[in-house]
Symmetry: C2
Subunit: 452 residues, 2 copies
Amino acid sequence: MSDVATTELLGLLKLGKASQVDQALDSLAVQDIADALAEIEAIDGRVDLFQRLPDERQTDTFSYLGDRQQLDLLNALPSATARKILHELLPDDRTAFLESLSADDLENHLKLLGPADLKQSLNLLGYPEESIGRLMTPHFVSVESHWTVARALDHIRHEADRGETVNFVFVTDERGRLVDAIRLKDFILARQDRPVEALMDGEFYSVLASADREEAVQVIQRYDLSTLAVTDKQGVLIGIVTVDDIMDVAEEEITEDFHKLGGAGVLTVSLKEASTTLLFRKRVGWLMILVIMNLLGGAAIAAFEATIQSMILLVFFLPLVIGTGGNAGAQAATLMVRALATGDVQLKDWFKLWGKELSVALALGITLALIVSLVGFYRGGAEIAIIVAISMIAVVVFGSMMGMVMPFILTRFKLDPATASVPLITSIADIGGILIYLTTASLMLSQGLSGG
Amino acid sequence: MSDVATTELLGLLKLGKASQVDQALDSLAVQDIADALAEIEAIDGRVDLFQRLPDERQTDTFSYLGDRQQLDLLNALPSATARKILHELLPDDRTAFLESLSADDLENHLKLLGPADLKQSLNLLGYPEESIGRLMTPHFVSVESHWTVARALDHIRHEADRGETVNFVFVTDERGRLVDAIRLKDFILARQDRPVEALMDGEFYSVLASADREEAVQVIQRYDLSTLAVTDKQGVLIGIVTVDDIMDVAEEEITEDFHKLGGAGVLTVSLKEASTTLLFRKRVGWLMILVIMNLLGGAAIAAFEATIQSMILLVFFLPLVIGTGGNAGAQAATLMVRALATGDVQLKDWFKLWGKELSVALALGITLALIVSLVGFYRGGAEIAIIVAISMIAVVVFGSMMGMVMPFILTRFKLDPATASVPLITSIADIGGILIYLTTASLMLSQGLSGG
C-alpha cells in the first residue's frame, strides 16, 4: 500500500509530470510523501518537492521524516519556512526533533522559535532523557466536574483544534489536579443537561512526567488506552501521551532489546542512516570483551595440552562441544529475555522455570549425546564415544542454565536482562564447554591408561 | 502499579478479609483481577474468586486471562455461567479463545453457543489462521452519507453499546460498501444540520479480512489509526480491528522474531505455560541441525590434522578464531533482521548496506587483529602472530557478511529473515573460521618449512 504510493510519486517526479505530482502531493498520505522525500538523494530535489507541498501539509509531512532528514531539510529551507515548521510542529514532535540535535544545532534552532514556543520546548526538554515528559504534548482538553455535559461539549468543540486528541476528556479540580478521565463517547451518549459529575467513576490512569517512558508503554498496553494523562508530582494534569506515539516508543525499545541480545550495542538512529564509524564504535566494545573471553577459552585448552597431544582426535569434537553448549544457551537466553520483557515471566518465577529448564536441557543433552556418541564411536571407538556423550549432556545443561539464569540475575540487580546477549552466553558456554570436555577426557584417558 | 494491585488482592484473599476482597473486586481494573486469578494455583480457588466478581465484570475479566486459563476456568464453572461468558465475549475475544482449542474442546464449546453466536463464530473461524478476519469484530457503527450530522449522532448514540469503539464513524453506501471513515470528533465539531457528506474527504484506510494480520499492524502503525476498517473483496464493510488488539498482535509477532533469532523455534503459548515436552520439541530440531554443522567443523579440523600436530599451539587460538567470526556475524544478523522487520531497510537497499557492512567488518577485523596478534606473538612468536592476525580479519569479514547477506537472501525468497538465527550464523561462521584459520596456518607453516 505505502510502497506503491511512494514509488508512484517518485515515478511521476522522474517523468516530470508536474500536474500529476501536485495532485499526488494533495491526496497522498503525508507518511507516504515523507517516505518519497527520504528516497530522494539530492537535497535540492528534496527541498523542491517539499516546497511544492500545499502549505498546510508541510509540517505534517515533516513530522514523519527521520531525525537527520529533518535537520538536513530544515537547514536547506528558507528561514521563514523553517520558522513556520518549527512553530507548527506539535510540541511532542518538536521535542523529538530538538533532542536529536547536537548542542550547536540545538542552539541555532532554538533561536528560530518564538518566545512561547521556546519556553514550552525548554520546559519539555527539561525532563530527563527517555522520560514521559519528553514524549508528552501539553495540548489537551480538560473540563470541570460541576459543568453540565452541554457546557463541557461546547468547551471541547472550542478547544478541540488545540488538543491533539479528544478521545478522552479529562476532568480537573479547581487547582488543575486530575480527578477523572472520561471517554468522549460517554459525553455524546449522556443527557446534555446533566452535570459532568454524573459521568465520573473516578477510574483513570495517569503517569508522572518524570517517570521512564517504558512505564507509559506498559500502562497504555495493559489497560488498552488510546490516551494517557501525564501529571506532575502534585497530581496536576500537565500533558497527555497518545497510543500512536507509544507504539513508536515500544518499537524503539524492542529494537534496543534486539540489538542488545545480538551483542551489537544500541543504535539510536536507523541502520540505514548510521555511519560506518558509528556502527564500528557500537560493535567493537562487545567484540573486544568477547575476544578476552575467547582467549580464556584458549588458555583452558593450553592447560590440557598434554591430554590433547596424547589423543589429537579430541580436537575433532571440540567445535561440536563448544558450539552446542552455546546454541542451547542462546535458545534459553532468548526465551527468557523476551519473557521477562513482555512480563510473561517475573523474578518470583525463577525457581519454577529453573526446574523446567533443567528438565528440558537434560532431555536435549541426552538426545544429542545419543547421536554424537555414534559418530564418536565410529571415529574413535568406545572411549571417545563415552567422553563425547558425557560432555554433550554436561555442556547443554551448563549452557542452558547460564542462558536461563543470567537474565534473571541481571533483572534482580535492576539491569537490563538483554545484556545477557547471545554472543556473551555463547562465549561463556564456550569456556565451560572446553573445560568440561577436556576434564572429562583427561579423567577418562588417565583411567584408561591405569586400567590398560 | 498493576503488580501492587494484584499482590494486594491476593493478600486480602489469604487473610480471608471477605468485605475488602469484594470491594477490591468492585474497584480494581479487570486486567489486575485477571492477573490475580492466574496466580492462584488451585482451580477451586480460581472458581471461587471468579464467582465472587460482580456479574457484569466476569466476562471482561475472563477476556484478559491466557488461553489455557480460560479453558480451565470455563470447564470448572457451572455450565450456565460458561454459557453466559461465551455469549457476552466480544466476537474477536471469542474467536481468540475458540481458535486456541483442540478439535474436541472446540466442539464442546461451540455447543454452548446460541444460534446467532454460533453462526458468527463459525464465520469468523472460517478465515485463515493469522488473517485479519480472525482478529476483527463485526460490531461497528456505520452511517450513510445523505444523513444529517444530527441523525448520524442519534444513530451513533443508539448503536454505541453494540459497537466496540466509536472513535471512527464509518460511512457506507446503499450496498454497505465503505466510502469514508470520519473521526467522531469531527461529528461533534460539525454543525448538526449539515449532511454527513459535507464532512467526507474520501481519505480512509481499509484492509481485506482475508489478508495477513501483519498488514493490519503495519497500516495502523504507519497511519496512526485507532480503528481500522475491514472489508470483503467487494469493499463491503464487515468488521473493524482496534489498535489495542493490534498491539497484542504486534507483541506476538515480535516474540516470534526473538525466538526465531535465538534459534529456539516459535512458542505460541507463554513460556510459563509451556510444558517441558513442548519446549524440548521446539528446541531440539535446530540443535540437531547445528550439531551436524558442528560435526562438519570437526571434519574440517580433521582434514588439517597434520598441520595441528606439527604445531599444537594452533589449537590454543581455535576458540578465539571460531568465536569472533560468530560474534561479528551475530551482530550483523541481528541488526539486519530487525531493520528488515521494522521496514527501516528494504530489499533494494542491500547493495548500499553490503558496502557499509564490509567497511565496518574490515575496521573491526583489523582492530581485533592488532590486539590478538600481540597475544599470538607472546605465546608463539611472529609466525603465530601473523597467522592469527590474518585469520582474525578474514573471519570477522566472513562472519559479518554471512550475517548481513543471509537475512536479505531469505527475504528475497519470501522467507522470514529471522530464520537466519544467531546460532545458525554462528555455526556457519564457525566452519568458515576453522577453514580460514587452518588453511592460513598450513600455508604459512609450509612456507616456513621450505624457507627454513
